[in-house]
Symmetry: C2
Subunit: 368 residues, 2 copies
DNA sequence: CTGAAAGCGCTTACAG
DNA sequence: CTGAAAGCGCTTACAG
């Protein structure tokens, strides 16, 4: 039974077949496996397709072949330079292999995450990448039923349920604070959102606290402001609170470069000299970090590499390659010391150990 | 003929129907138009669906209904805070109406744009949003054949071929430079990438030149560096060139806040005082602009609103609403004067006229 | 090297 | 309120 053509019907393979004077499946074959078609036929089909500006319906193709040709990524926020770089890495690498990336931005919301996951699963992705893990059991269950490869990134779980390509947020927090301790600071604060307001930041805070306790230092200098993604204004507010309450504070580890910028601003307003009176460290090594005054000490992350490597792992898994690459890959991170912690112009880099980093790429190359 | 089940087959509506003891289309009906199903049946189907964690195959649904349920956006780069906000606006608004957004990141490449467009068209979007227009005739032709609504954004073409929701880049350039002229500057430069290296920036440069010529001022102080998206380092390099070559320069309009930050950095390095020796203006009003030292004069754009309004226009068009909302909508922009042009702490806002802005939302609200 | 048939998982009229 | 049939635009074996 024929449907009402509600609008200009698009060109189908049938139209191309008619124009080229061949059957429907010869068109399909020409487009997918041109080598199995005689040169003459191929040329006629290709001309017809070009003539009609034929664009195959990918949904129909997926349905028929039972291969959607795409991979989904679920992330807390697109407004986060680091996550965006991971998306770039994924997208670039997947494209090389003929896959497309579906992007699901959860806006840091657990409900959004579950709903988005359902939606993405409705498109039958062949694999899914999680930036920072899954927060709800319902989402976890959905994923298990989907029975597709899952790659977790941007963290380093103790007991991973899926493949992981990431780094340890706890280690980042610990390393940075250990390094502040090594500079001789004893009264070190942390500024960030607590717990569920910034799950990754919370882990860094735990690492920070561990470092302090390990060194026998006080660990009460904390301010909880805002929620991820952290804004500059959160840094301004948090700094005001901390400076009022703990005037003895010597150094401050911030949950992100954004908050750190807010802290710098508040220090300037109060005429507190950085780093002399207060040393400041951020996280993420944003573009602007080294151009601030003073330039900002931060943590550089393998954001692009994470995406790239996750994509490679996916491709290898889909292709059933044996032996598959290691399923758990710790790419590490780098501490970049700059003026805000007293390292004038001279960059001192400290790298965490990244045992699984692919040797061919060298250890912790700059992520650009 | 049955296919080999290559992997764990996913749950289909047939499985749900079997479990609920109803026919296939009753499942479909329950999910789509629950009101047309008896409460008892509905409940059984819903339970069965939940029990099996049924996630409908959206590709199959689209194919069958001939409505993909998504809208595509083609943009020059996701690494651009403003474009990202437009994506947010689109995504939020479309989601409210049950549509999903397909994101196509062209990486500022014409070839990528054409290829991406083909790919996106293969998913049969019901409308397409262009951030900054289409660069190749081939792409334009593809789009015309697709016969779907097209909305152009982030610019203001003289002779629009499609609907437009945007603002005039030329006017931005003109306004900023007119405002620098009004401050008494006579030797004003422009720093940005030329021509195709940054099509939008090029338009602002044209506006800048028009303002200078209009005032009878010299227009030779220019530096062409980098390509979009502009990096801080481009600003550093461009500033070095300009300062060497035109030591008499009094003010500099930059293609973006990123370049402006680079210029600030170079000025600091050379001990050139801003704004006393050189006034600096950026573009985009990035988060960090007001927190720099000196705070940066910039141009605030209705980025989120553009996305929101484009989405509303799309929904109205798809629903065939009459009268449709105006198809050409100029949302204007705001100049934000800060310390880098000598407006200490006091914000002076100059708005372009935005005749088509929806009155209900007030004129040029802050884009947050 | 090419084509007729069956099918992917849904939805849309149309009957009942 | 519910179901049998046809079809969306492709691809996949299988014949020839």
């Amino acid at each position: 039974m024929s449907r009402k053509a509600s609008k200009a019907r698009s060109i189908t393979s049938r139209d191309v077949a008619a124009l080229a004077g061949v059957s429907l499946m010869t068109v399909s074959r020409t487009l997918r496996t041109p080598d199995l078609v005689s040169p003459a036929t191929r040329q006629r089909v290709e001309m017809a397709a070009r003539e009609l500006n034929y664009v195959p319906d990918l949904a129909a193709g997926s349905l028929s072949s039972q291969r959607s040709g795409h991979v989904a990524v679920l992330l807390p926020s697109l407004r986060h330079a680091g996550f965006l770089r991971t998306v770039d890495g994924l997208s670039d690498t997947l494209r090389e292999h003929g896959y497309h990336l579906l992007i699901g931005d959860c806006y840091y919301s657990v409900e959004q995450q579950r709903e988005l996951l359902r939606m993405l699963l409705g498109r039958r992705p062949e694999a899914i990448v999680l930036i920072s893990g899954l927060d709800s059991p319902a989402a976890q269950e959905l994923l298990e039923r989907a029975a597709i490869p899952v790659i977790e990134t941007w963290h380093w779980p103790d007991k991973p349920r899926n493949r992981v390509v990431g780094f340890s947020q706890v280690e980042v927090g610990r390393s940075m604070s250990e390094s502040l301790i090594a500079m001789g600071h004893t009264r070190i604060g942390f500024l960030g959102a607590l717990g569920a307001f910034d799950p990754n930041g919370e882990q860094r805070r735990q690492g920070h606290l561990a470092a302090l306790r390990n060194a026998g230092l006080r660990d009460d200098i904390q301010s909880s402001v805002g929620k991820a993604p952290m804004a500059i204004e959160d840094g301004v507010k948090g700094a005001a609170q901390l400076l009022d309450r703990y005037p003895e504070m010597q150094a401050l580890a911030c949950a992100s470069d954004m908050t750190a910028l807010g802290v710098l601003h508040e220090c300037r307003r109060r005429a507190i000299s950085v780093p002399d009176q207060l040393a400041i460290a951020g996280f993420g090594d944003f573009d602007f970090a080294r151009y601030l005054q003073p330039s900002l000490t931060s943590v550089r992350l393998p954001s692009y590499r994470i995406g790239q490597q996750a994509a490679e792992l996916i491709i290898a898994t889909i292709n059933g390659e044996t032996p598959p690459p290691p399923s758990h890959c710790n790419l590490g991170f780098e501490l970049i010391h700059r003026q805000s912690t007293g390292h004038d112009e001279q960059f001192e880099a400290y790298s965490s150990n990244a045992p699984d980093a692919l040797p061919t790429r060298g250890v912790l190359p700059h992520d650009e």
